[in-house]
């Protein structure tokens, strides 16, 4: 009985849904605050993301005539469920997680579900902007996913394990991935920006071009879930990269604080990138993905294999 309660607590509260949702909202606040300060603005108070979330929950939920009601309801839920499940295998600050050899592949797969859901949302919500946005998100997926996989795989090869928790633990015995595989780390961060559809890679939802892209016709609770899943995906993505390249939480007493500091360091790169550049065009992004990121990741992979072989 107590085992069941413990499992439920882990799933729903810590490090499950409530904790991750809190992290997601906190992430959104820091994001808005930091980019505001970088742009000479002030940004919102700390409770703004929560207030926005509650407001959206209370708002009328409508869909245009002809949209697939069932699909449009299930897609945000599926997206949220996927990122929450992915979080279950990523160790937080050295916490024990149910890990197995190969869970890294599962995590990467689960983290790509939101993009597929995004594409399908564009398809099912019958708006012309949504269709264009959906197509773009799929194109974007092919641009960043391969470099992301290669960079992540590089970390796995170097540490000799395909389990996230194991990779994090082994780094604390040797050295951080960031130091040994700087190129792989950079590729992973840039690809993560593409994965999260954050500026300057916010191409599938570029508002001046195609309104809100696939989310154009969503409102109320469904939109709230989309936003929540977007924020949690960002947090989980950051957790994952910290585990793979920054040595995870470690075993020390201060591991929680160290972990939080590492996550913030990583997110800072995302914030700065979002204010520093103009949005790319989809063809420019595909070029960057295949002509810059993929070769860089491949080079890192070769170097890793060569060094490992010695």
């Amino acid at each position: 009985m107590s085992a069941l309660l413990g499992a439920l607590f882990r799933l729903l509260v810590f490090p499950g849904f409530v904790f991750l949702a809190g992290c997601g909202l906190a992430f959104q606040w820091i994001d808005r605050r930091v980019s505001a300060r970088l742009q000479g603005r002030f940004g919102p108070p700390w409770f703004q993301p929560l207030a926005d979330f509650i407001k959206l929950l209370a708002k009328e939920d409508t869909l245009p005539l002809g949209a697939d009601e069932l699909a449009c309801t299930l897609l945000p839920i599926a997206s949220l469920a996927a990122v929450l499940s992915a979080a279950a295998y990523v160790p937080l600050a050295g916490q024990k997680v149910p890990s197995f050899e190969g869970d890294l592949i599962v995590v990467v797969f689960l983290l790509s579900i939101p993009t597929l859901a995004f594409f399908l949302a564009g398809w099912f919500s019958v708006s012309i902007y949504s269709v264009v946005g959906g197509n773009r998100s799929l194109l974007q997926y092919f641009a960043y996913e391969v470099p992301f996989l290669m960079a992540v795989g590089g970390a796995a090869i170097r540490n000799g394990s395909w389990s996230v928790a194991e990779i994090a633990a082994r780094q604390s015995q040797t050295a951080w991935g960031l130091l040994v595989q700087p190129l792989g780390f950079a590729v992973a961060v840039i690809a993560l920006i593409g994965k999260l559809k954050r500026p300057p890679f916010d191409i599938p939802k570029a508002k001046t071009e195609i309104s809100a892209g696939p989310l154009t016709e969503f409102s109320g609770r469904k939109l709230a879930l989309w936003y929540l899943s977007r924020d949690i995906e960002a947090v989980v993505g950051a957790f994952l990269l910290v585990s793979l390249f920054l040595g995870g939480g470690g075993e020390a007493l201060w591991s929680a604080i160290a972990f939080a500091a590492k996550v913030l360091f990583l997110l800072m790169a995302l914030f700065v990138a979002s204010v520093l550049y103009a949005r790319l065009r989809i063809d420019q992004l595909v070029n960057v993905g295949w002509k810059v990121l993929a070769p860089a990741a491949l080079l890192q992979l070769l170097v890793t294999v060569w060094m490992g072989g010695r």
Partner: protein, 530 residues
């Protein structure tokens, strides 16, 4: 090009036709000729003299006739006048000679019921597609009543003639509607993009969503009231409208405006140019997803808006120009404070310029985009930074100096690339030039009164008043019949010239580039619709 030479050549080419020449106020020459010879005369102007810039076409109802005035710019103003007797309002289109006449002819057609024979696209321009209310600028026109015979029943059925049937998908092609409401647009305008994948293959433009009938309203108000009405044409360049209008009315009255007032007017115009250029720079940056530049540009713009507010009391609507001068003054201390803040502004502006100049992602999104060649600019009669970025060296501040520009030489900034990037560079450079002009004006402003008394009644006459607005040549035609209300006020804003070239600029580009092109054009729809 001297107008006398042109008139002599016209007389020679049209033997038997009654060509009369009359020089008007503000060095405008009016040449009257029979309407059936107009097309030939325009051909002569374009072919023999290279006079290709048609500023606009004014149509007016003068009792028995509908009069058409073709305002050309040939180094100085040249207006061809043709009268069409009522009942036979037909004239040959000149769009085969000057493509840029297209929108002007469409407007005259709907406003005065003139038929332009052979016009390639005779859709309405500003009035609704289902308009059945007649020609609103004819004298004696009355507003159609909500109920009754004036509005036929089609209005209820909402049968829209002229509008093509909008199909969302057609094989590989999709039609993406941008506007009348869209996050990209700050003002309502509508275009339907036909796309294949991400590529725009065709587009259809529709304006008129904010048409307020200001030209008609002007005829119902007196000269003083019109200042405040015309100021509301635009929410960005409101001051230049009042200045251009007052310049015209003052010419009709024969008033000598005090030099100090000239300086204050020009100072406001230059400040307005700075804030307008910064505004569009911000909008362009936001359109290409570069929010930081948007925030910086609009933050720096506040300095200029503050100065304008201190001078006139308003940030956007100033109500500061009167016929005969201005309604504000500048004292010693204020002048020093303005100069100090302009120095701050220059530092900020240099920073912004460097950021834009060195930021590669900005260039990636603006270079080789929305390209207009010099020839296209001349064809469409485009003006202002749009023309200057394509290597057309025009600027009324230098070509026909008015107000304080008579004393202060203006350096005209041009570029040759003709793309969005070149337009951005021209505007940024113009901001810095305007800054220098502002400094000189504040330093060299002459002493004296800022206004002279103006009579309420304006003697009969007509005038064409031109000024260089932030977006290019702004032209007013004002005709007085000797009462306290104008008989006709015609406004042609620079944006309408840019709109004509939009279709060319959008063809063949990616959907993602549409916002950049629109941002680079610096459209002011309220100005275009009036």
């Amino acid at each position: 090009m001297k107008p006398e030479t042109i008139v002599a050549a016209l007389r020679k080419a049209l033997p038997g036709a009654n060509v009369t020449c009359q020089s008007g106020l503000l060095s405008e020459t009016f040449v009257a000729l029979p309407s059936q010879h107009l097309h030939q005369a325009v051909g002569l102007l374009v072919g023999q003299f290279g006079v290709r810039h048609l500023s606009t076409i004014t149509g007016q109802d003068v009792g028995d006739d509908i009069e058409l005035l073709y305002h050309f710019w040939a180094g100085e103003g040249l207006t061809l006048r043709a009268a069409l007797p009522k009942g036979r309002e037909h004239i040959a289109t000149i769009t085969d000679r000057i493509i840029g006449a297209s929108f002007y002819e469409r407007e005259v057609a709907e406003m005065l019921g003139v038929v332009f024979e052979g016009h390639p696209d005779p859709r309405p321009l500003l009035l609704p597609d289902d308009w059945r209310g007649g020609a609103p600028l004819r004298s004696g026109w009355t507003e159609p009543k909500e109920e009754g015979s004036d509005w036929p029943e089609q209005q209820v059925a909402c049968e829209v003639p002229g509008e093509p049937e909008v199909q969302i998908t057609d094989g590989d092609r999709m039609i993406i509607p941008i506007g009348p409401q869209h996050p990209l647009l700050k003002e309502p305008l509508s275009y339907l993009l036909t796309v294949e994948g991400e590529r725009v293959v065709d587009n259809l433009l529709r304006i008129g969503y904010v048409h307020r009938g200001i030209e008609r309203l002007c005829q119902q108000r007196n000269y003083v009231q019109n200042i405040y009405l015309l100021e509301r044409i635009c929410g960005i360049c409101s001051y230049i409208h009042t200045a251009t209008y007052c310049q015209g009315v003052e010419a009709l009255l024969g008033l000598q405006v005090p030099p100090r007032a000239h300086y204050l007017r020009s100072l406001m115009c230059e400040l307005e140019r700075i804030h307008s250029h910064l505004l569009i720079l911000g909008v362009l940056a936001e359109n290409i997803g570069f929010t930081t530049i948007f925030m910086y540009a609009w933050r720096d713009r506040e300095i200029v808006l503050d100065i304008m507010e201190e001078l006139s009391g308003g940030r956007v609507s100033h109500a500061a120009t009167v016929i005969g001068g201005v309604q504000f003054d500048l004292d010693e201390q204020h002048a020093r404070s303005i100069l100090a803040r302009l120095d701050d502004f220059e530092k900020q502006m240099e920073l912004l310029r460097n950021v834009i100049h060195h930021e590669r992602s900005f260039q990636m999104r603006t270079r080789d985009l929305g390209h207009l060649s010099t020839e296209q600019v001349l064809d469409y009669c485009a003006v202002g930074p749009m023309a200057r970025a394509s290597g057309v060296d025009v600027d009324l501040r230098r070509d026909a100096p008015y107000a304080a520009y008579r004393d202060l030489p203006t350096r005209v900034v041009t570029a040759s690339e003709g793309d969005v990037w070149a337009r951005t560079q021209v505007r940024i450079q113009e901001i810095l030039e305007s800054l220098q002009l502002c400094r000189q004006m504040v330093q060299r402003i002459p002493e004296g009164p800022v206004t002279v008394r103006a009579p309420r009644r304006v003697p009969a006459g007509e005038v064409v008043s031109r000024m260089e607005a932030p977006r290019g040549e702004l032209i007013y035609y004002i005709r007085s019949d000797g009462t306290d209300k104008p008989a006709r006020v015609k406004v042609r804003t620079p944006t309408i010239t840019s709109l004509m070239s939009l279709t060319d600029q959008l063809r063949g580009i990616s959907i993602a580039d549409v916002p950049a092109v629109i941002g680079g054009m610096d459209l002011c729809i309220a100005c275009a619709d009036r």
